[in-house]
């Protein structure tokens, strides 16, 4: 392989990496949680985290986990500031997420473990301990 060909190859690989990275960042950027909810394979749970409805690919699971890890970090920080447990902060967010982030036809999960689909613009059932 000539020196010139190596250079061209290196440039090509570099370009692919940059554009690929940019494309990936574009997909990741914006509101990834709402994109996931819109697939119908992912839903909001009462506990403040995203969950997978049914079975999912390893790739989807990884994306959900990545968001949940970041959510947990946010809950942890605010819980410490309010002298509350991480769980309480997360469940509190869960109440808000169920009431404001479940779109028509999207799925949500209640404390008994059951998944429900929001029917059109109908109401979303909230756990009994959520503030009204």
């Amino acid at each position: 392989m000539s020196r010139r060909m190596k250079l061209i190859l290196a440039l090509g690989i570099g370009l692919a990496a940059v554009t690929g990275g940019a494309a990936y960042a574009f997909v990741q950027g914006g509101d990834e949680a709402s994109q996931l909810r819109a697939t119908g394979q992912v839903g909001e749970q009462w506990d403040g985290y995203l969950g997978i409805v049914g079975s999912a690919s390893a790739e989807l699971r990884a994306r959900v986990d990545a968001i949940n890890i970041r959510r947990r970090a946010v809950y942890t920080e605010r819980a410490a500031a309010r002298q509350a447990t991480i769980e309480a902060m997360a469940v509190s967010a869960g109440c808000e997420l169920l009431s404001s982030r479940v779109g028509p036809g999207q799925y949500y999960r209640l404390p008994d473990g059951s998944w429900h689909q929001r029917q059109g613009n109908g109401p979303v059932q909230l756990p009994s301990n959520c503030p009204s």
């Binding site: 990834e32 967010a93 301990n129």
Partner: protein, 60 residues
Amino acid sequence: MEKARCLLAAPMLAALAGCVQVAAPDKPIEINLNINIRQEVLLRLQQDAKELIEQNEDIF
């Protein structure tokens, strides 16, 4: 007179028996105090939860 007393006592005994009867439930009694405690905590954290969600739109 004696007969009348007996007649009165019979329904009273029956009523007493009805009051005293206690049947043990076959399932363990579970009192979940967590629910009530949490409700207060959740109310206290409600505003924080709303803020978190608005400030971190990318993960919510």
